[in-house]
């Protein structure tokens, strides 16, 4: 399979790899996918008092497109408010990375990971339900 240059770039130089302390109340953790499906993404955000995502980290088990999608997602959420981050759609990731149809699920997973991380953050704050469907899988962390 031929990968786009952007996918290769994220694969070769993934942005924001790592982990944030998941017990930190300012940190939201989203873990989506499953090992038997060949894709697991962990995306974490650190949110400041103004509701702005000031840091984001990821780790991904999956193909090059999955790695690139989650790497891109961390880049995009950084500096955004939670509301803005929720507006990131999988199709934006598909377009930015030129993902072929067979890899669209990678972008869907990245969108889910963002939502799950934000949901986890809200849950910790005692404010459940603001994210809508697609949320609530932070329990894996």
């Amino acid at each position: 399979m031929a990968y786009s240059d952007k996918v290769k770039d994220h694969y070769d130089n993934p942005r924001n790899v790592g982990s944030l302390p998941k017990e930190d109340p300012a940190v939201g953790t989203g873990m989506v996918g499953a090992p038997e499906c060949g894709d697991v993404m962990k995306l974490q955000i650190k949110v400041n008092d103004q509701g702005v995502i000031e840091d984001a980290k990821f780790k991904t088990f999956g193909c090059g497109s999955a790695i690139a999608s989650s790497s891109l997602a961390t880049e995009w959420v950084k500096g955004k408010t939670l509301e803005e981050a929720l507006k990131i759609k999988n199709i934006d990731i598909v377009q930015e990375l030129n993902l072929p149809p067979i890899k669209i699920h990678c972008s869907v997973l990245a969108e889910d990971a963002i939502r799950a991380a934000i949901a986890d953050y809200y849950k910790k704050k005692g404010n459940v339900g603001s994210v809508g469907e697609g949320s609530g899988s932070g329990k894996n962390a």
């Binding site: 060949g38 780790k59 088990f61 999956g62 067979i102 699920h105 889910d112 329990k139 894996n140």
Partner: protein, 407 residues
Amino acid sequence: MVKLPIYMDYHATTPIDPRVLDAMMPSLTNEFGNAASRNHSFGWKAEQAVEAGRGKIAELICAEDPKEIIFTSGATESNNLALKGVAEMYREKGDHIITMVIEHKAVLDTCKTLERQGFRVTYLPVNRDGLIDLKELQGAITDKTILISIMTANNEIGVIQEIGEIGKIAKQKGVIFHTDASQAAGKIDIDVRNLGVDLLSLSGHKMYGPKGVGALYVRKKNPRVRLASQMDGGGHERGMRSGTLNVPGIVGLGKACEIARSEMKEESKRLFSLRERLREGLSKELDEIYVNGSLAKRLPNNLNISFAYVEGESLLMGINEEIAVSSGSACTSATLEPSYVLKALGVGEDLAHTSIRFGLGRFNTEEEVDYVTKRIAETVKRLRSLSPLYEMAKEGVDIKNVQWKKE
């Protein structure tokens, strides 16, 4: 300095041995006759070349008579002809066929077609090593069983079945025994007489011959196996496979068989030591890697390993500009489904997604093996540093107990 890219996918296909190409050149150029032209020297020459090739193939697998070799376009066609040809010919005798779950698609899909035509097919399971249980085979045979089709060596994991034992069981029960030997022919000793094989498929391009040519061994005596032809035409190949013979291909296949026969012993020793060098090198560099299938009952040139916590395709992406290997099955890696062969062994789907198949061959060197070891190890380590699963495993979380949210 090693020359890149390195080819280590010899189960998929092999390059033509230069000696094979040399042997083929006359029939690709001046000696272009049709082997069925009975009345001029061009035809006679072509026929001679074909018969010489037939003889060499017969010798490689210890067939009694070169006439038992039928030329085809490759092992897929040989498998189709064997299964459909027997099914059609012996339909009145019975409607039951036995095969196993880790056969190549050329056998499995042919069986599916036969099922649609009303035949019943038993797909024997395999154990963790990738081997069928002979008692189970015996138990599956009924008075309606007309054919057993069990491959000699598997294309993904290289595991070699107990062909001689299966042959014995087939003889006792009077059932025809076919084996797909595409991966095994020219790599390990095959003696159709001793093994009790009645039909055997092989392919040119898996053994340093050209693509587009293969053969089917069809036993003539004890028992005489008859096949309904699947291709109508001029009645070539004793009526079993019509179509003008692929003379250059046949000459090439013959030469490939001749080389394999005279060099097999040395070559398999060399490939085995390269394979072990690769396996030991990787084991030294990396924890949590698992060989899929029996290591003892395996082709000398095959290694199929799961690199836990690293998805196979991402691993290939890190190396595939320099190294040619396969993830999962080469045939199914476009589908994103993990390999059905590994699933059948009971390899968890999580580990099945992390498997790589290495196929070593005639032109690989120690330097190449060392280079591949180094690059694979580096890439696995880098991807594990990105892997949430590796992180969890190192924290002591049992990944199997996690409630994953499946998409």
